[in-house]
Structures are given as structure tokens and as C-alpha cells.
């Protein structure tokens, strides 16, 4: 029997896939966890309790009879460096969607002076989870293949917003091309440019505008731009006529018809959009899923092709061996295009702009992306969810290969990606945190969270759970908003909540001086009211840093033990659990996988920690002498816990919390005894 001291200095691999539990040979094993629930892995190596969720609004009554998948959507909107908004789309009925606005953690009320706290947007009967958006300055553009593109424009102040249908100049496309040979001759009055054509018989109708005249004997092709009469039209030549003022004989010309707007109720509308280098791009449409539409330069709503000059509109269809319906686009180093089957980009040499004459779409990788999940930018790369929803891939340009690569970032933790619904990235806000990639799962309502610091190869997954289900997540600057479905009483409720690292409960509100709704003013008695959103729930209560016994909300209120002097926080509890992998000391005599093992003692390094339990034993963080009735302290240092009893097959340490307080674990040392 041998005793070995082991030291896990960091947890930066995060929770790894149970399928990897036997991989004691890989380097990551030493820094990994078998479970990381409701913690955030720090790029420095430790982990901390995840932030609590601040209750923001109850949108249940605004949601019509739709499934939550298609009825609610979070959309960020950044107007300026200091004015960022979170828009919450809630589908009221098959015509109208209500949009709620939040800024800096506060809901904006009385939108447009209407008295309502929302903007009514006639989006029609669309599933919001497939709605795509892009933003430029004060304008948010919304597209969906079953909806004519819309815009929401911020007005003079934060509560002034305008919703409208975009007035687009559509490209013309012949979905069903037809030709006919009307009787009579036609005579052009010039050979090229804008030409007046006179027919010997009445052949032209108003429907012929934007249709074509082709000369069959010889050459000449022109688009009709104006009908003057049944016998006279104005055309713009695409190919010149051979002779002017010379009749083209009956039968020697034809009308080519079938050209119509590329986007319509019948043909569908654009699926994705992004701004890129002075153009607005629409990626795919219902009828043309693999076509890229680019507007005229700085004429964002003009998509009609002209003479293919450098700043003219662009319409290109990907010619590949599969459908490649465009699911997403991103303006990055290049214009990146994500389809259901592969990833593409529009290469540009040096500072050359994309023009009709040089546009090409190169296939980079063949993974396919999941529809309805917008890729996010992360440190020069683009993160996207693979088609089946089982991997996060980083679309990153390789200077060696001069091409993009799609590396699997979630290889070690693909089990946390179940049925991803959306994805958001909160960029690091200080040096002590990394980027935070958040992905809610549909099937169990959990949220996979990856702490990312690419420069240090840190990709540390963890899992957030709550009393309910995470439905959607989005980031507005430093603020992370989420939609949570909760069961209150027997009713299903949909709440807008926001992660707040100063709080340690979910769906909480705080009572303090100068509070802003939905937080409340500090009560002058022991009753904390306005808790209707938690009616019937057993809640955690923290008063002035004291954790009180659990309360049950009744009639929207609870009664606490004393009048607070500074604050009260009331919210739902969430369980923190972190479990190390089976201890494997890698002795010179061999591995100990098959042996019984026992952790004799554990010394945990913690930082500003108020509560922590190891293998079910709460660490005594207070120092002697105890002062009865004092608030919990924030302890920084190491705490030894011994003896720990019992042999097991795995010998793992489990960190939990017994109270809704703060905890940060930096590292752990433990003594291990192995049997024969």
C-alpha cells in the first residue's frame, strides 16, 4: 500500500466527456474534471460559482400559443459604445410579434410613448428561432425565408423605435423561363444603349416590363424598361442590335418572359444577412437557398443587377455538388458563408474589394452548420455549431494553408452539446476572466458554457442548470441575457433573466436603496413582497450577507427574520457540483486504474470563498474564535480536510456548496492511498 501526494493545479480542461475517462494517457487528464456543474472555469486555472440570474421580466402573457422554440428570440443591438440593447422578441400571434427592450440591465418602458412596454412588429407567422439579423448604425435588419425583410430603427432616444418593411429593389430572376414569337416586325431606333423599339403590331403589355427581347436571326438582346404603348417600348440593350431603323422580320425575334422578383411571397425571402464592405448581403432565399445576393455598394437596399460594374449589385449562385443552403454568414477577415453541408468564403487579395468581376466563393471545409444558430466571432476565428449539433467548430484562417480550417473545439466535451438552440459569446471583460461561450440545450434545458482563452489553449467546458430550462441566450456588451422557462405553481412561465456575478440565486430580485425595477426598495419591515414570479417556490434568502433559512413565497411575499440594514436577495437555489476525475498517480510501478483507492486528506486552495464542501464536508472557513451571529467571511488561503474515509474504485473529490454564497477554488492537493 502506497501513499502519494497529488496536486491538481488547474481545472482548465473543464468537464470532459465520460467517454474519455479511461484516457489517463492524455495530457489533458491531469487538468480535467468529470463534472463541472454551475461553475465557471477561470482562465487562471481555478473555478468559481456561476453568477446568479437576475429576474428581469415575465413575458409569459405576451407569448401566444406557440412552442417556445419558435416563439421567443433574443437579439442584441449595439447602437454605440455606450448604448447597447437587448431586444426580446415574443410572438404574440400569427401576425404580430412584441419586442421588448432592455439596456444596461434595465427594461425600457413606455416605448414610443404608447404606454406599452413593447413595440408591435408585424413579422407574420414565422418561427423566430430561424430569424436572422444584422445591424448597421441605428438599423437592425431582420430576415426570414417566410417574411419580407424588416427593419427596426432606433430613434432619437432609447425608447423611440420604428418598425418597417424594407423597401428593396429586387433582383430579377427567371424561375420558369418562357419564350414566345409574337406576330409582326420590330424596329429599333438605335443599336445600343437605351433604345426605342416599335412593333408593327400590338404585342407589348405592361407585364413585359423587365422581360427581354431576343433577336434570333443575327443578334440583339434587350430588357424592356418601359412600355409606352402596345407597339412601342423602351429597352436597354444587353447585346446590341445589328442595324438601327431596320425592321427585324416577323419570326426573327422573340419575347423571353418569366423574369420576376427574386423575393416574393411565392418564392420566399432571404434567409440570412450581413453587412460586409459597404454592401448588404443576403445569403440564400427560400427558392434560391444557395444564392448570395449583394447590394450595390452603399446603396444597401438596391439588389438589382445593372452592367456588372464594380459597385453594382451581385447575384451569384454556388455551383457545388450538393445543395449547400446558406444557413449563416459572417463578415470577418473575409465574407464567410456557412451552409448545411460546407463552409465557404469569398477570398479577397490584399485590399481588393469584392466586385462582380472578381467574386468567387471558395469551399474551405465540409462540416456543415446547424440552421438557426448564428456563428459568433472569437479572437479572429468564427465559432459555429456543426450541422448535427454535436460539435463546436472554430473556422479559422490558416496562414500556412492559405485556407480556412474548421477545428473541433468541443472534442473533449461533446456530451455537453445535446440539442443546441442558440449560441452567444461574452467577450472577456477583464483580465481575470476569459471569453464565455454559452449554448443552451433544448432537450434538458441545460446550458453548455465554455471558458475560452485561445492564446493559452484554454477551452474549459462546464454546464449550467437551473430550476427550469434555458431556452435562449444572448450577449449585450458585458451583460448576458437568457430566456428561462420555469414552472411556477403548475403554470409554465417564461422569464427574461440576466446573469449577475454579484448575486448567487436564480430568478432573484434584490431589495436595496435606490433599486431599479424589477429590484425593489429595501423594506422597512420584515416583509419582502413583489415576488409573484416565484409564487409557491421555496427560495434562498440572503439578508445582509446572512443566509437565512429557506422560505416559501406566498401571495408574492416572504417574511424574513429581521429588517435588513443593507439588502435582501431572494431567489431560487441552484446546485454547484464539481467532481475530479478518478485519481491516477501514474506510478513508476504502473497505473492504478484497477486498484481500490482512497483519498486520505484534501487541501483546497480557495480565494474569497464563503462556503465550500468537499466530499460532503463543509470546510470551516471561519477562524477561531467564532463570533456567533456574524456574517460569513470571505476566506482566501488553503483549508485542509482530513481524514477522509473509505476506499473506492475511483477516488474522486467532489466540491459542493451548501449555501448560496461565493466560492472560488484555485487548486487542490490530496493524499492518495492505493490498494493492491
Amino acid at each position: 500500500m502506497s501513499r502519494i501526494t497529488q496536486y491538481q493545479s488547474n481545472f482548465t480542461v473543464g468537464e470532459i466527456d465520460p467517454l474519455l475517462v479511461g484516457r489517463i494517457d492524455i495530457q489533458q487528464y491531469a487538468s480535467a474534471l468529470s463534472k463541472a456543474q454551475n461553475v465557471v472555469i477561470l482562465p487562471q486555472g481555478g473555478f468559481e460559482r456561476r453568477p446568479g440570474l437576475r429576474f428581469m421580466a415575465d413575458i409569459t402573457s405576451h407569448l401566444g400559443s406557440f412552442t417556445t422554440l419558435d416563439g421567443i428570440r433574443l437579439v442584441p443591438f449595439e447602437f454605440s459604445t455606450t448604448q447597447a440593447f437587448m431586444l426580446v422578441f415574443v410572438k404574440k400571434d400569427t401576425t404580430n410579434t412584441r419586442v421588448f427592450f432592455f439596456a444596461n440591465g434595465v427594461q425600457l418602458l413606455n416605448i414610443n410613448g404608447s404606454g406599452a412596454d413593447y413595440l408591435v412588429c408585424a413579422l407574420g407567422d414565422i418561427d423566430l428561432d430561424r430569424m436572422y439579423f444584422t445591424q448597421n448604425a441605428d438599423t437592425l435588419i431582420l430576415v426570414h425565408e417566410d417574411m419580407s425583410p424588416k427593419s427596426i430603427v432606433r430613434g432619437a432616444n432609447n425608447t423611440t423605435w420604428t418598425f418597417s418593411t424594407l423597401s428593396l429593389t429586387d433582383p430579377k430572376v427567371a424561375f420558369t423561363l418562357a419564350t414566345s414569337n409574337p406576330s409582326g416586325t420590330i424596329t429599333p431606333d438605335a443599336i445600343d444603349g437605351t433604345v426605342t423599339i416599335t412593333a408593327s403590331a400590338s404585342v407589348f403589355t405592361t407585364n413585359h416590363v423587365d422581360q427581354y427581347i431576343n433577336v434570333l436571326s443575327g443578334f440583339g438582346r434587350a430588357r424592356i424598361i418601359e412600355r409606352e404603348s402596345a407597339t412601342v417600348v423602351k429597352v436597354i440593350t444587353e447585346l446590341p442590335f445589328f442595324k438601327k431603323d431596320q425592321a427585324i422580320a416577323n419570326g426573327a425575334w422573340e419575347l423571353e418572359t418569366g423574369y420576376e422578383d427574386a423575393w416574393s411571397d411565392a418564392r420566399g425571402y432571404p434567409r440570412t444577412c450581413t453587412f460586409h464592405e459597404g454592401r448588404l448581403y443576403f445569403g440564400g432565399s427560400k427558392a434560391m437557398p444557395n444564392t448570395l445576393f449583394g447590394s450595390k455598394v452603399v446603396d444597401f437596399f438596391n439588389f438589382k443587377s445593372a452592367e456588372a460594374l464594380d459597385d453594382d449589385a451581385i447575384l451569384v449562385t454556388m455551383n457545388t455538388d450538393s445543395v449547400n443552403a446558406i444557413n449563416a454568414m459572417r463578415s470577418g477577415r473575409d465574407l464567410q458563408i456557412f451552409t448545411n453541408d460546407a463552409e465557404f468564403f469569398v477570398p479577397q487579395a490584399d485590399l481588393d474589394p469584392i466586385t462582380p468581376s472578381n467574386i468567387v466563393i471558395k469551399n474551405a471545409t465540409r462540416r456543415g452548420s446547424k440552421e438557426g444558430i448564428r456563428p459568433v466571432m472569437a479572437e479572429g476565428g468564427t465559432l459555429f455549431i456543426q450541422r448535427e449539433g454535436k460539435a463546436i467548430r472554430e473556422y479559422l484562417f490558416s496562414d500556412v494553408d492559405l485556407n480556412y480550417q474548421s477545428n473541433n473545439m468541443s472534442l473533449l466535451a461533446s456530451h455537453l452539446l445535446k440539442t443546441p438552440r442558440s449560441m452567444a459569446l461574452r467577450v472577456a471583460t477583464s483580465t481575470d476572466d476569459g471569453d464565455l461561450l454559452l449554448i443552451p440545450n433544448d432537450d434538458d434545458g441545460s446550458m453548455a458554457v465554455f471558458s475560452i482563452l485561445r492564446s493559452q489553449n484554454v477551452v474549459a467546458p462546464a454546464e449550467f442548470i437551473t430550476d427550469g430550462s434555458f431556452l435562449d441566450v444572448s450577449v449585450d456588451g458585458p451583460d448576458i441575457y437568457t430566456i428561462v422557462k420555469r414552472t411556477i405553481g403548475s403554470a409554465t412561465k417564461y422569464y427574461v433573466e440576466m446573469f449577475d456575478d454579484q448575486r448567487t440565486t436564480d430568478s432573484n430580485i434584490q431589495y436595496f436603496a435606490n433599486a431599479t425595477l424589477p429590484d425593489r426598495a429595501k423594506p422597512s419591515n420584515t416583509t419582502c413582497s413583489n415576488l409573484a414570479h416565484l409564487e409557491g417556490k421555496t427560495v434562498d434568502v440572503i439578508r445582509d450577507d446572512f443566509v437565512l433559512t429557506d422560505k416559501t413565497v406566498s401571495s408574492g411575499a416572504i417574511t424574513i427574520d429581521a429588517v435588513p440594514s443593507a439588502y435582501v436577495e431572494v431567489g431560487l437555489s441552484y446546485a454547484v457540483e464539481v467532481k475530479t476525475l478518478p485519481a491516477e498517480p501514474k506510478l513508476s510501478s504502473g497505473v492504478v486504474v484497477s486498484r481500490k483507492r482512497r483519498i486520505l486528506e484534501a487541501t483546497t486552495l480557495v480565494d474569497r470563498t464563503q462556503n465550500l464542501a468537499v466530499n460532503g464536508f463543509e470546510l470551516p472557513l471561519k477562524s477561531l474564535p467564532y463570533t456567533l451571529g456574524s456574517a460569513p467571511i470571505s476566506f482566501t488561503g488553503r483549508k485542509r480536510l482530513a481524514p477522509l474515509l473509505g476506499y473506492s474504485d475511483t477516488a474522486q473529490l467532489t466540491f459542493t456548496m451548501t449555501q448560496p454564497l461565493f466560492a472560488t477554488v484555485l487548486a487542490v492537493e490530496y493524499k492518495l492511498s492505493t490498494g493492491q
Binding site: 443587377s305 453594382d312 457545388t320 467574386i359 468567387v360
Partner: protein, 179 residues
């Protein structure tokens, strides 16, 4: 008498020469017209060849556009690649072709017009030869008839050949005889 006959003969020879010269000039001008026509046809052929080359170049450029679009992952027969082919290649190509056809027509019609002028000049030269010959013979005949009779008011010793046209003596001799 001998001198008069000799003069008549000489005039005949001269007239014949004038006729032959006119005919020769006409022939030369007709030959020149033929060359001009041919030169025009050559120019027209060149223009036509240029047109053919334009079409070939257009076709080649169009195939390049198709190939580049396809290599670039794009459907070449739709949208922008088609526009590039139409507006960037076919339209200027066909305009150049039309220009070359115009040049071909101009070369032929211009040569034909010049040849026609030359033929006309030839005919005129021939006509001038005949007229010159007729005039020469007429003058000779007049001279022949007047040799031997004294000019009215004259000394009879002033040789005709010494009278310069327009001189008083010539005037007198000529009109004096007529009258």
C-alpha cells in the same frame, strides 16, 4: 501644196495620237479603278477578318468567364457571371463586330466610289482625246484650205507659222479668210 498636205498629214497623225492617248488613259483609269475596287475588297476583307477575330476573341473571353466562374464555385449562367459575360464581353465584342462590319461596308463602298470616279475620268480622257483629235483635224483642214491665198490686206509674205495665236496678224489672217 506639199506643205499643206504635209500639215494635214501631220494633223491626222496628231489627231490619231490624241485618240490613242485618250483611249490609253481610259484604259489606265479603268485598270486603276479595278485596282481601287480590289484594294477596297482587300480592306473589306481585312475588316471582315478583324470582325472574325473579334468574334473569336469574344468567344474566347466568354469561355474564360465561364471557366473562371465555375472554378470560383459559381454557376456561370446565372446572375453576375452572366452579366459579366453579357456586359463585359459580349456587348463590347458585338459592338466591335458591328464596327468591323461597318468598316467592311465602308471599304467596299468607298473603293467603289473611287473606282467609279476613276472610270469616269478614263472615259473623260478618251472623250477628250477624240475631241482633241477632231479639233486638230479641223484646224488642219482650215489651214489646208487657206494655204496659197493672200490674206486680206496682207503682204502675202508673212508665214502663218510665225503668227502667234492671238497676234494681230493671226487674227487678221483667220477672220479675214472667214469673212
Amino acid at each position: 501644196m506639199t506643205m499643206a498636205v504635209a500639215g494635214l498629214v501631220l494633223a491626222g497623225v496628231s489627231a490619231y495620237a490624241q485618240i490613242k492617248q485618250g483611249e490609253a488613259t481610259k484604259k489606265a483609269m479603268y485598270n486603276k479603278a479595278k485596282h481601287t475596287t480590289l484594294a477596297g475588297r482587300v480592306e473589306a476583307t481585312k475588316a471582315k477578318e478583324q470582325g472574325v477575330q473579334v468574334l473569336k476573341a469574344t468567344y474566347k473571353a466568354l469561355s474564360t468567364v465561364n471557366a473562371v466562374a465555375s472554378a470560383g464555385g459559381l454557376e456561370p449562367t446565372l446572375g453576375t457571371p452572366q452579366d459579366i459575360g453579357t456586359f463585359g464581353i459580349l456587348n463590347p465584342g458585338l459592338n466591335d463586330f458591328i464596327t468591323s462590319k461597318d468598316n467592311e461596308f465602308l471599304a467596299i463602298s468607298s473603293a467603289n466610289a473611287q473606282a467609279q470616279d476613276e472610270r469616269f475620268a478614263g472615259r473623260q480622257a478618251k472623250k477628250a482625246g477624240y475631241i482633241g483629235a477632231l479639233t486638230t483635224m479641223g484646224s488642219a483642214m482650215v489651214s489646208y484650205n487657206s494655204i496659197g491665198s493672200a490674206p486680206a490686206g496682207g503682204t502675202g509674205t508673212t508665214p502663218i507659222s510665225n503668227s502667234s495665236p492671238g497676234s494681230p496678224g493671226y487674227q487678221t489672217a483667220r477672220y479675214g479668210n472667214v469673212r
